[in-house]
């Protein structure tokens, strides 16, 4: 068991971790979530006695790490997949770590097999992809067959097969009664892997609960209702009718309404009674990613804003329209409109080919600048969650696994 009490770490006047108290219990995978720079890695380093806390303390099995008897056989850690000497072979890297902990050399070949790196054991780790590096780091953590395991972002750079493997590995380690503490910034991944969640933001504890509780507390069902775009007064009318009936109505940026507290048939009845036509009435579930975003919203250190490209764009001639994002551009199946015909109409907008001036989807809503191009292809596409304040939101890709587009990684999957 890992236990932190009032853990605080300051670097100069920057507080990386503040008054963090939590317990990580054996027999479960505990996810350690937080945005980049929220203090996850600092906390992990303090657990391992690498960094000294400014205040508070953290123990493993009741001992501070540096006084833990036979520490490397009790605790295994993956802190940074890139923390290897590139000129050393994978096997020699693990061998040096095994010797450092008094672990016999045959265990090295064992863990190389476990992580699937036997084929490249004699190769220098310089040429390894990030995914292979992660596997090597996981192998190092497993060397001492430890009861307590710490993994800092273990799925970064892994392909889907590797992510699945890590997920199952964590679960099986926990099922054997070990303490497994995994950090990640991906809620979607943790929802599938972890049993318990510890969420931090700006170094402070935001949540400490089981995944089940987190899901039931945070994933409210809602309905999306869309009235005809052409008649805004209908929208007002329906909003007041629904509010009257006891529902909560939140406008969405594209003009739809997000309704909670009323079942779908009831919404339909109310609309019918108030003589409002509906273009859409669909059931939705807020994703965990969304709940997590909402929770950590105030605690994000690095927030992206829309690129203004100030000074980089040619000033438009007076009266000219700003260029519109072309729906579907860059996607397969999209073709540039034909060149203007001599003397004819500049853009005849042939059937099935949405030209720049005709981005209308089935709902006729023109794609406003700033909305993601993708327009007519999928009118049901879920827009990014929007805070009422309209703060720029990262476009969440709810249950998509971590990006796995590293082309150099093909060999480590097998």
């Amino acid at each position: 068991m890992i236990e932190a009490v009032g853990l605080t770490k300051r670097y100069g006047d920057k507080t990386a971790v503040y008054n963090l108290s939590f317990q990580v219990r054996p027999g479960a995978v505990t996810g350690f979530l937080g945005p980049n720079g929220s203090g996850k890695s600092t906390t992990m380093r303090m657990i391992l006695g690498l960094d000294n806390p400014t205040a508070g303390h953290v123990t493993i099995g009741g001992y501070p790490y540096r006084r833990l008897p036979n520490a490397p056989r009790q605790v295994g850690a993956l802190l940074d997949a890139k923390a290897v000497h590139g000129g050393r072979t994978a096997r020699n890297h693990l061998l040096s770590l095994a010797q450092l902990s008094g672990i016999p050399a045959r265990r090295v070949d064992e863990v190389l097999g476990v992580v699937g790196l036997q084929e490249v054991a004699k190769r220098r780790s310089k040429g390894f992809s990030l995914g292979m590096g992660q596997r090597l780091g996981i192998a190092a953590a497993l060397l001492g067959d430890p009861q307590v395991l710490l993994f800092d972002e273990p799925v970064n750079g892994l392909d889907p097969e590797g992510i699945l493997w890590v997920r199952n590995l964590m679960k099986s380690l926990a099922a054997e009664g070990r303490t497994v503490f995994v950090s990640s910034h991906l809620m979607s991944e943790m929802a599938l892997t972890a049993d318990h969640l510890i969420v931090i933001g700006r170094g402070q504890l935001l949540a400490d609960m089981s995944v089940k509780d987190f899901i039931s507390a945070n994933s409210a069902d809602f309905a999306r209702v869309r009235t005809p775009d052409t008649e805004p007064q209908l929208r007002e009318k329906l909003t007041s009718a629904l509010t009257e009936a006891g529902g909560q109505v939140l406008p969405e940026p594209d003009g739809a309404l997000r309704v909670t507290g009323l079942p779908l048939p009831r919404i339909s009845d109310i609309a019918h009674d108030s003589d409002v036509r509906l273009w859409e009435l669909s059931p939705h579930q807020a994703s965990l990613e969304e709940a997590y975003m909402r929770m950590t919203q105030g605690a994000v250190d690095y927030r992206s804003v829309a690129d203004q490209r100030a000074g980089l764009q040619q000033p438009l001639p007076p009266g000219a329209q700003p260029p519109m994002p072309v729906p579907g551009q860059g996607q397969p199946g999209w073709y540039a409109p034909p060149p203007p015909q001599q003397g004819g109409q500049p853009f005849p907008a042939p059937q099935g080919t949405p030209g720049p001036s005709a981005p209308a989807g089935p709902y006729g809503a023109p794609a406003a600048p700033g909305t993601a191009p993708g327009g007519p292809a999928n009118p049901y596409a879920q827009p990014a969650p929007q805070a009422p304040a309209g703060a720029p939101q990262p476009t969440a890709a709810p249950t998509a696994p971590a990006p796995a587009t590293d082309p150099t990684k093909s060999e480590d999957a097998r």
Partner: protein
Amino acid sequence: MSMAATQVVRSEWTKIRSVASTVWTLSLAVVVTVAFGMLISALAKNEFGSMDARGRLSFDPTFISFAGTGLGQLAMIVFGVLVVANEYSSGMIRTSLAAVPQRGTFLFSKIAVATALALVVGMATSFLAFYLGQAMLGDLKASIGDPGVLRAVIGGGLYMTLITMFSMGVAAMLRSPMLSLAVLMPFFFLVSNILANVSATEKIGRFLPDQAGSKIMQVVTPVDDDTPYGPWGGLGIMVLWVIASLVGGYVVLKRRDA
């Protein structure tokens, strides 16, 4: 030796032998020291005829065969720096210290392994430089049995070892290979030589580690030499420098976050 120390020694030996930089730096140290010593010895033999009496009195065939040390030591410095600072540049230090939380045991066992290797290579280099240098000197050559010569040759090996240890201490303090090399290389190649040969700074300059330590390789004391220490005294001064740098490295490792 405690169990942890034995384990670090075995692990460090694996680390040292499994990177190419070890072979490169150490073989470069041997080749440069020996080859440069041979070249200078050959030139000195031709010069001897045109020397004045004073020059002939100060002529030290043993010391001349070690003329390559100043250049060859730079490769030993790179070796020492890389052994320690690569832990930091690669990030391995965290894995290492998680495995061996006793930081002092870790650092000194690591330094012991690299020092043992440097001693073997340093001694081999020294004897090789001496014999091949003497071969170039023809009938001016010194013999290993002459008074002070064996001390100078063994001292040459010790000098190479100590300079490597000093570099490891500095690297443990600075924690970056680039920074450590940027400090050590110009210092030993230029600064210390300038300080020791300009009359204004000469009195301080000759207490620098390399200037004091290289006295051990001298057999014939030059005419009107007023150095206030002898061969072993000089090496002792160098040892003090090495101790200071290793203590500094230990304190930094102990105090700071890894």
